[in-house]
């Protein structure tokens, strides 16, 4: 069996190893097979030299968080994201990865009513203490009022799990956008899911179907704002995923909510009495979600957005190393995810912050389960504006 990776993209790696320290799985295991250089060498062994897909090779390729920290670290411009995406699809097609329960779980994401029903059961179970805390789920609301459209300047992409579990973050994002003078249309059930997790799990057909649905449901040229870095990265990648001009045009309309707000800070601050923000009395550490920093490469605006609204911002001194959440990674690879998180928490502790701001709900949940108080930057801004 081959993985069918583009040979030119596969040839681009010179095996220099400069990516090693930027790879969370290498950092915690020290195994070459759990490193970008090693994974690429194994892909080559399979595709170029006909090596059999041994369980060890599958495990190495399956252990990748797809954080793409290796991509921003690589001086040779290797498109690791493309390599692993193709690999994951080939492995899932051959049923070497992504077992039935994972497929079933992912399928539910595309069905909002099913997801909400499941979430209600989960929320009930939480109330009765039946859900172990170490799974790291946030307290899921038993019921949450639907979001209301306030105008048609921008879409706010609401997605799947996040809408079911953390709708308040959307509410805070919407409040901030409104304060900055924008009328907001939440996308709601029209676009059930971005397909990011399906794509990570190698379910390419499902991911492409969801992408086509999103594009059909959100025509026109209104900006599409996203408050989950993972979803934003997926939506921005539709152009590559589908390869059509329509998909590329769609992707060009997608922005992380912090990117968009950063461009309108004067409106946001100007809306306040005397144009004077009242900063929250907090020292806030900025955690850059990988899909914001390494994939969208848009991690700087969040600093601009937060700065006027908190007492102090601090950076983590780890070059944006992954926290181990990785979409559904912390569910399918709990052991590696936990070790990666421990490392991250070390850096967070050194930053001596009151709270961590993360623009990706998955990271927030994962860090929260590790005992780190984590909030979405929009929640902080909404609080400082008195709107949360």
């Amino acid at each position: 069996m081959t993985l069918g990776i583009d040979p030119d993209e596969l040839a681009a790696c010179v095996q220099c190893g400069l990516c090693l320290t930027h790879c969370p799985t290498f950092r915690v295991t020290g195994d070459e097979s759990q490193s970008p250089r090693g994974r690429i060498a194994l892909m080559r062994a399979v595709d170029n030299d006909g090596a059999p897909l041994t369980p060890e090779i599958v495990e190495a390729l399956d252990g990748c968080v797809v954080c793409r920290g290796c991509e921003t670290a690589c001086p040779s411009g290797v498109h690791y994201g493309h390599l692993i995406e193709r690999t994951r699809e080939a492995l899932a097609d051959a049923h070497r990865t992504t077992p039935w329960w994972e497929r079933a779980g992912l399928e539910a994401l595309a069905h909002p009513r099913l997801l909400r029903a499941g979430s209600a059961v989960l929320a009930g179970a939480q109330r009765f203490g039946l859900v172990p805390r170490r799974l790291g789920l946030p307290r899921i609301p038993l019921r949450s009022a639907p979001l209301q459209a306030s105008g048609d300047d921008v879409y706010l992409f609401t997605g799947c799990v996040m809408d079911a579990w953390q709708r308040d973050v959307h509410r805070h994002g919407q409040a901030v956008l409104e304060a900055a003078g924008a009328g907001v249309t939440p996308t709601g059930d029209r676009v059930p899911c971005c397909g990011a997790l399906h794509s990570h799990a190698g379910l390419g057909d499902r991911a492409r179907a969801l992408a086509r649905r999103a594009i059909a449901e959100l025509p026109g040229d209104r900006p599409i704002l996203v408050d989950s870095a993972g979803c934003g990265a997926a939506l921005k990648d539709y152009g590559h995923l589908l390869g059509t001009p329509e998909a590329r045009a769609f992707s060009a309309r997608v922005f992380d909510i912090t990117e968009w707000v950063a461009g309108r800070m004067d409106r946001l601050v100007g809306s306040l009495p005397d144009a004077q923000p009242k900063p929250l009395d907090l020292r806030v550490a900025v955690q850059d979600p990988c899909h914001l920093r390494h994939v969208q490469r848009a991690h700087l605006p969040v600093r601009q957005v937060l700065a006027p609204f908190v007492r102090e911002l601090v950076e983590l001194d780890d070059d944006g190393l992954c926290c181990g959440a990785g979409g559904a990674y912390f569910v399918v690879q709990p052991e590696l995810a936990r070790r990666i998180r421990e490392r991250k928490i070390g850096y967070i502790e050194r930053a001596k912050a009151d709270v961590v701001a993360s623009a990706n709900p998955g990271c927030g949940m994962h860090l929260g389960a590790g005992g780190v108080p984590t909030v979405h930057p929009m929640t902080l801004v909404a609080r400082a504006l008195g709107r949360a």
């Binding site: 010179v14 190893g17 020290g30 060890e56 495990e59 001086p75 040779s76 411009g77 172990p132 569910v331």
Partner: protein, 494 residues
């Protein structure tokens, strides 16, 4: 909950224990998850960042303490097996490539900074600490580790010590050897000894100095005392452009002759400057024959005067332009260009062979010209980016590894570059080491008598040729029955 954990979460494959008694003993001495013997992992540990193939790895051990290294060494002795220390595997001379299925000892998990003493200005570190991690750790204290190889984001201090690595800032500060005061070493006999010490002049022979640059053939470093260097108060960086590499080379000589030792003096030739500019947009001149990046550091007034003097020399030598970075941002941008150089060549060809020789500064221009001719003769594009201040050439030969027969041509060209460098009075390697890459060229540089003395030093540490056999010294001289090392001992690893 056990059920849940079993159902959700990938099953991890259980390592199968082959019958090799070495493996069972290693597992006993370390831990099951710190000894890897599956074919995938061993295939990966058969390589480093070099273009050399032919390595065969035995079991791979991830050690966490000197005691564990000793235990592994004793097991190796008992079973008469060789060992190869390995850091991050970013070496370019094939130093960490295992020959003949030795036990590979990875230090990557020995990654703690043990102690920082700002009075003596020494930091004690484990060998697997990543170079840049150490500098980052020291930053809040106002210090850094001066050797800064271009691979510093990934390479380990243990690897730096073994290869006596250098970097752009070693012009003024010196290479790794100048920054190592003491080393704990597990000798090939299994003994743990300390070489060197914190005193300025430890008694007896400088065995620390002998160990640095030993490329893993003298034992395994398990704890290293390194000098830490205070961060300079002021740093000034200037980009000077020239019509030709020859003019640039003569300016390098003139600056040093004027008694100025800049912190760094890096040269890039026409082709690499273009590639870099397209890649990072740092404002490098596209039409220059060569550019020099010159940096001075120290006190405000001193660095200002140095830069004035350097600018005068540049103009007198016929430089086309001098651009002094106005602020930290511009300075970072200029360095980004230099540091992005290896990546930038990806626009020209998918792979490169990064060569490393040293020539006297006076011969720089001539050797550069010869290097271009060698590239043309073998039909290989060649670009140059290097530490001009100390005459350390780094020609990059560019190629597509998928082209049949290409590696022979690359190695031929590499050999020709060694020959012209030596003919000009230079040396085999500036900082990447000898490894397997230049092992067989050693006789071009050293007489049989020289090599025999080096062999005696090696044997004094390692009489049984246990540590990293097949490296550094050529076959006729030591521990390198190359034929035998290509084969795997019977009953062991295939």
């Amino acid at each position: 909950m056990g059920v849940l954990r079993g159902a959700f979460g990938r099953r991890r494959s259980q390592p199968v224990l082959p019958q090799d008694p070495v493996v069972a003993e290693l597992v006993d001495a370390l831990a099951p998850d710190r000894v890897r013997m599956d074919s995938a992992e061993r295939a990966l540990f058969a390589h480093d960042a070099s273009v050399f193939t032919g390595g065969v790895s035995g079991p791979v051990c991830f050690v966490t303490s000197a005691a564990e290294v000793q235990a592994v060494m004793r097991i190796a002795i008992r079973h008469d097996r060789a060992i190869v220390p390995r850091g991050a595997g970013t070496g370019l001379a094939g130093g960490a490539i295992p020959l003949g299925a030795p036990i590979v000892v990875s230090t990557i998990k020995m990654n703690r900074v043990l102690e920082v003493d700002t009075v003596d200005r020494v930091a004690w570190v484990e060998p697997g600490v990543v170079n840049l991690d150490l500098t980052r750790y020291l930053r809040p204290l106002g210090y850094h580790f001066a050797p800064d190889p271009s691979s510093q984001q990934a390479c380990t201090i243990g690897g730096n010590v073994a290869n006596n690595s250098g970097g752009p800032h070693c012009l003024a500060y010196g290479v790794t050897s100048n920054h190592v005061v003491a080393i704990d070493v597990v000798l090939p006999s299994g003994e743990l000894v300390t070489l060197g010490g914190v005193d300025a002049e430890p008694d007896g022979y400088d065995l620390r100095g002998a160990f640095v640059g030993g490329e893993g053939t003298l034992g395994i470093a398990t704890r290293i005392g390194v000098r830490i260097t205070p961060n300079p108060p002021v740093v000034r960086t200037m980009l000077v452009s020239f019509d030709s590499a020859e003019v640039a080379a003569s300016m390098v000589g003139d600056v040093i002759a004027a008694g100025i030792v800049p912190a760094a003096m890096e040269m890039m030739d026409r082709e690499i400057t273009r590639a870099v500019e397209n890649f990072v947009h740092a404002g490098y001149p596209l039409d220059a024959g060569a550019v020099l990046l010159v940096e001075v550091d120290g006190q405000d007034e001193g660095t200002r005067l140095d830069m004035e003097r350097i600018t005068e020399i540049a103009h007198a030598d016929g430089a086309r332009s001098c651009r002094l970075a106005a602020d930290e941002e511009e300075r970072a941008l200029l360095w980004k260009g230099r540091k992005g150089a290896f990546g930038a060549v990806a626009q020209i060809a998918p792979a490169y062979y990064l060569h490393d020789t040293v020539v006297p500064r006076a011969a720089l221009a001539d050797v550069l010209r010869a290097v271009y001719e060698i590239g043309a003769r073998h039909d290989l594009p060649v670009v140059n980016v290097f530490h001009a201040g100390d005459g350390n050439l780094h020609p990059l030969l560019l190629f597509d590894p998928r082209e049949p027969g290409i590696m022979e041509r690359v190695h031929e060209a590499g050999k020709d570059i060694v020959e012209v460098s030596l003919a000009a009075g230079g040396t085999l390697s500036g900082e990447h080491g000898i490894g397997v890459e230049k092992r067989d060229y050693m006789s071009m540089m050293f007489s049989d008598v020289d090599l025999e003395h080096q062999n005696r030093l090696r044997r004094a540490f390692d009489p049984a040729c246990r540590a990293n056999p097949g490296k550094v010294l050529p076959a006729s001289h030591s521990c390198a029955d190359i034929q035998a090392l290509r084969q795997v001992p019977t009953g062991v690893w295939a």
